[in-house]
């Protein structure tokens, strides 16, 4: 039984190695691809490391780009969470709020965040705020949807128990519905984070002068796919790190409580 699992693990490792090998073969080995289209993995690695202390060719180091992207993404994310979670809760709890807000929300939902960029630029200028607003929208939507579901799945039985003890509507919300909703709210936070990161990259591709999105877009213009790929890897790693951090916080928070 364990032998099989071990050999499967080796297969996975082998798979990654084969992938890297084929990549190297196509580029450095057999020179099947033009270096302006597909750089070798070795070059990508070199560039990746180099970028941490070189400002060339687009004007900032990798760290500066990451910092800038994080700044924008997290600002938009925070506002999105602060607005979205309570809104979702209120919509799920108070019928009048839901009946009024939901139609507007449903209209907004299918519009991808990136489409709002021109409007945001007009309203807020070309700096951090306009991008943060776009991210705010994506994050808010995810938070609302999940907080809403979280509250709605409160068991009626539990609410009846609360009512028997004479709890007011507000108390029912705070003491019963909210705790039940926490797992889904946390899911919403996670989804919103991933969405924010994606929205950030999209916004930076279109309207930015720094950040990872900007970096990869610029590098296309100067035919440096090695920077592009290095940038993509950085985007992936940063995104994964953010999600990992959130999961870690989530687990630490849930440690004492049994849901």
């Amino acid at each position: 039984m364990q032998k099989k699992q071990k050999s499967l693990l080796w297969l996975s490792v082998l798979s990654v190695l084969v992938f890297l090998f084929v990549w190297w073969l196509v580029t450095d080995g057999l020179h099947l691809a033009a270096p302006q289209s597909l750089p070798s993995p070795v070059k990508v690695l070199k560039t990746f490391v180099q970028k941490f202390y070189t400002k060339a060719p687009e004007g900032a180091t990798m760290l500066e780009h990451i910092g800038s992207s994080l700044q924008v993404a997290l600002s938009g994310y925070m506002i999105g969470v602060v607005v979205g979670v309570p809104l979702g809760i209120l919509m799920a709890w108070y019928e009048n709020v839901d009946v009024f807000v939901r139609p507007l929300f449903d209209l907004l939902r299918p519009i991808p965040g990136i489409a709002w960029i021109p409007i945001m630029i007009v309203l807020f200028g070309i700096g951090l705020l306009s991008k943060a607003m776009v991210i705010f929208l994506s994050a808010m939507i995810a938070c609302v949807v999940n907080s809403y579901s979280g509250i709605r799945q409160t068991k009626t039985v539990h609410l009846w128990v609360g009512q028997t003890f004479g709890a007011s509507n507000f108390q029912l919300l705070i003491k019963i519905a909210l705790p039940t909703a926490v797992p889904l709210i946390l899911t919403g936070l996670r989804v919103a984070l991933a969405g924010s990161w994606t929205a950030l990259v999209a916004a930076e591709l279109v309207a930015s002068t720094k950040g990872l999105g900007f970096m990869i877009q610029q590098s296309r213009g100067i035919f440096r796919p090695d920077i592009i790929i290095a940038g993509m890897i950085a985007i992936g790693l940063t995104g994964a790190a953010l999600t990992g951090l959130l999961s870690f916080l989530e687990k630490a928070l849930m440690k004492g409580e049994k849901w």
């Binding site: 108070y94 939901r102 507007l104 021109p118 409007i119 519905a177 994606t198 999209a202 279109v206 990872l212």
Partner: protein
């Protein structure tokens, strides 16, 4: 508590009320104010939107642009659905396939599909292939994951039962694994359609010569806010319709899942 219980009539009234309030606020906020210098009124947008069915934006009417965007979505989405469902089922059922493809998938997954845009343009130029590739990439991930988790979760008791009843492995695959996975397939397809619509808009905004995303970016370049909002309206409407169609299809295909007690 619980807005689900609101009667249909109340909902309709609420929708009419809130949308009207929103439009009125918008109209009021942009008529003859400073904001009005930057942003158009809803009337202007509505007029431009309706006009663009005959009066083209750029080279095509609004329907033309929508068709371009949709056609890109359909091609990328279908290809991704086909490959994603196949790979997802294989990964879910065969540990060897899972072991080979999972690590590759995990490496690609953290990179948002949008981040592929510059590379895709570098590789495939400014034509359709770039858009197809990007849409394929963004939907393939979602679908494969959903189908994989579905195929993996087939109750082993059911598999045993089919064997007991005399089915060979291929028959089990067709009669048990696939039907069981159908709800998961549709969950994946449902999510993927929204993702693909967002991807095509992004791809078109970065580099394109037509399509709904192009409408917006072009408008931004010529500073035509009415056009921007027209584009947004079109994007929203089509996105909404796609989601609704998907939900209906899902309801029909997964009829047997809905209980009746």
């Amino acid at each position: 508590m619980g807005a689900q219980n609101a009667s249909k009539a109340k909902r309709v009234v609420g929708a009419v009320l809130s949308i009207t309030c929103f439009l009125l606020l918008w109209q009021w906020g942009t008529s003859g104010t400073k904001l009005g210098l930057l942003m158009p009124t809803p009337i202007q947008v509505a007029e431009r939107f309706l006009r663009s069915f005959v009066d083209p934006i750029g080279k095509h009417s609004i329907l033309g642009h929508v068709m371009f965007s949709l056609s890109r979505v359909i091609i990328g989405y279908s290809a991704a659905a086909f490959c994603g469902i196949a790979l997802g089922i294989l990964m879910g059922r065969y540990r060897v396939v899972e072991a080979i493809f999972m690590p590759l998938y995990e490496m690609i997954r953290p990179i948002p599909p949008i981040a592929w845009i510059p590379l895709a343009i570098l590789w495939f130029g400014l034509g359709e292939m770039t858009k197809w590739f990007l849409i394929f990439l963004s939907t393939f991930n979602t679908i494969t994951l959903n189908v994989y988790s579905g195929a993996k979760s087939v109750d082993p008791v059911l598999l045993g039962a089919s064997k007991m009843l005399g089915a060979n492995p291929l028959q089990t695959m067709y009669t048990i694994v696939m039907p069981y996975t159908v709800p998961f397939i549709f969950a994946g397809l449902h999510t993927a359609i929204s993702v693909s619509w967002a991807t095509v808009v992004a791809a078109e905004m970065v580099r394109s010569t037509e399509g709904v995303g192009w409408i917006i970016i072009n408008a931004m370049e010529i500073n035509n806010m009415v056009q921007v909002l027209t584009g947004i309206v079109a994007i929203g409407m089509v996105g909404y319709l796609l989601a609704i169609i998907m939900r209906k299809v899902e309801d029909v295909m997964c009829r047997w899942n809905k209980g009746g007690k």
